[in-house]
Amino acid sequence: MAYPANYKYTREHEWIEVSGKTGTVGITDYAQNSLGDIVFVDAPKVGSKVEKGAIFGSVESVKAVSDLYSPVSGTVTEVNESLKDSPEKINTDAHAAWIIKVELSDSAELDSLLDAAAYEKFIAEETGK
């Protein structure tokens, strides 16, 4: 699975795609693969605040629960409601099945995130452990 070059990544395995002031957030293919069959997504409500590095929700597979960490600070503008009935979309295409959209409060926060090459190197090290 290729990691889109126009996305940025966290060490907690979220991705963010930024267009203007809006960031679209999901979990990476590596994350969905380690979790296995995803059955439940707990996302915040539209209008709630998220903070860079803080937990904003969770994703659960049959066997595990995993916290979601926000790549940026801002306000949730949209939630992917289709994941309520079809959370397995994340397994099928993790880089398309977004979880929330956030209006960024500080675009400079993006600079500390990993680019695709750095993220791939990071997960290669994780796997090699």
């Binding site: 296995g36 069959d37 059955v39 439940f40 969770s58 659960e60 597979s61 049959v62 066997k63 629960v65």
Partner: protein, 378 residues
């Protein structure tokens, strides 16, 4: 402790096969075992609707032989071994003198003076030492044959049709919890038992544990089950399958601090068979009015998944118990759990809450097993 390096993980004879087949591996009680191959839900559904095969060679096998083997097994287990016929097996458990679990086991009667006890992987050494020291006063010998067998579990409504292609045994003559020896995959004197840990019909076969034989048998089972959509299955599906069937798992529903009354296993407890390890303590529990807590099945009513270790709360939000196993149930499509609650609250339809990551989520007590396989219609 002088050593700092973690001990190397133990491997079954099929370990290289699991890695080659791309299974996701996990450390399970010190064993490098497959947690899933194609996906937990697909594997779970294959066993409920077709057939799946599990490598369960990490399970331990203790054989007790000698003129007093029957008395020895009676002494160390809770079920009545004198009721077993040659070729029959039963679920049982070993207890400490205080009446709590050493482990749960399956006892097979090979002959009047020869029994096989199948034990859990994580407790192999503890169990063997326990058996050895407690049968010393009997004229019998305990042998640890755990490493001699590759044990495969072939499970599901199509298990019999799958295995039938590989054996000369007439499988219809082996009832549930019975076993026979026959030729399987060209191996004579193979133990074929109609047992399992999935709540489904199925068999467990015990073959020599060399890599060449083990891999050949594994491949032959996969080939035989192909037309039924057989899937190799990992411990993930094994866990959700046994949970839907409300079967106990050591370290969860049963442990060194839990007794058989609490664990809802009275039907396997034969206090009238004579004294055995733990019987005095259990009679005392009975005399004092029975257990204070009870294992129950929970179905989560609101949105949320109960998981192992989550607190169970009453209506006022006070902690009254704990979830021992909790998961989404792939076949039932519900979120279910097993939990200990006080006996006075352990009644069907009673509403409680499970604290899921800080939030109370409504659940109700439901009958177990959550899943019961359909009766054969043919």
């Amino acid at each position: 402790m002088a050593t700092s390096a973690p001990p190397a993980l133990r491997r079954t004879a099929l370990n290289a096969m699991h890695h080659r087949m791309g299974a996701k591996m996990v450390d399970f009680g010190g064993w490098d075992m497959p947690v899933e191959y194609s996906g937990l839900i697909a594997e779970h559904m294959a066993v409920r609707t077709g057939v799946g095969v599990f490598d369960v060679s990490h399970m331990g096998d203790i054989q007790l032989r000698g003129p007093e083997a029957l008395a020895a097994v009676q002494h160390i287990t809770i079920n009545d071994v004198s009721k077993l016929q040659l070729g029959q097996a039963h679920y049982s458990a070993m207890l400490y003198p205080q009446g709590t679990f050493v482990d749960d086991v399956i006892v097979h009667k090979f002959s009047d003076n020869d029994y096989l006890i199948v034990i859990n992987a994580g407790t192999r050494e503890k169990d063997y030492n326990w058996v050895k020291s407690n049968v010393q006063r009997f004229h019998c010998h305990a042998s640890d044959y755990s490493d001699f067998y590759t044990q495969l579990a072939i499970q599901g409504p199509k298990a019999a049709e799958t295995l039938a292609k590989l054996t000369n045994l007439d499988l219809s003559t082996i009832k549930g919890y019975w076993f026979k020896w026959g030729t399987a995959c060209g191996l004579s004197n193979t133990l074929v038992a109609r047992t399992g840990y999935t709540g489904e019909d199925g068999f467990e076969i015990y073959v020599p544990s060399d890599v060449v034989t083990s891999e050949r048998v594994w491949n032959e089972v996969l080939e035989a089950g192909k037309e039924f959509g057989i899937l190799p299955c990992g411990l993930g599906a094994r866990n959700t399958l046994r949970l839907e069937s409300a079967m106990s798992l050591y370290g969860h529903e049963i442990s060194e601090t839990i007794n058989p009354f609490e664990a809802h296993l009275e039907r396997f407890l034969k206090l009238d068979k004579g004294n055995f390890l733990g019987s005095d303590a259990l009679k005392k529990v009975q005399a004092e009015g029975g257990p204070k807590r009870k294992l129950v099945g929970l179905e989560v009513i609101e949105r949320g998944i109960a998981r192992d270790g989550y607190p169970v709360l009453n209506a006022s939000g006070e902690k009254i118990g704990v979830v021992t196993s909790g998961s989404p149930a792939p076949f039932l499509k519900k979120n279910i759990a097993l939990a200990y609650v006080p006996v006075e609250l352990a009644f069907i339809d009673n509403e409680v809450a499970v604290e899921i990551r800080g939030n109370p989520v409504k659940a109700k007590i439901v009958p177990t097993p959550f899943y019961r396989r359909p009766k054969k219609t043919a």
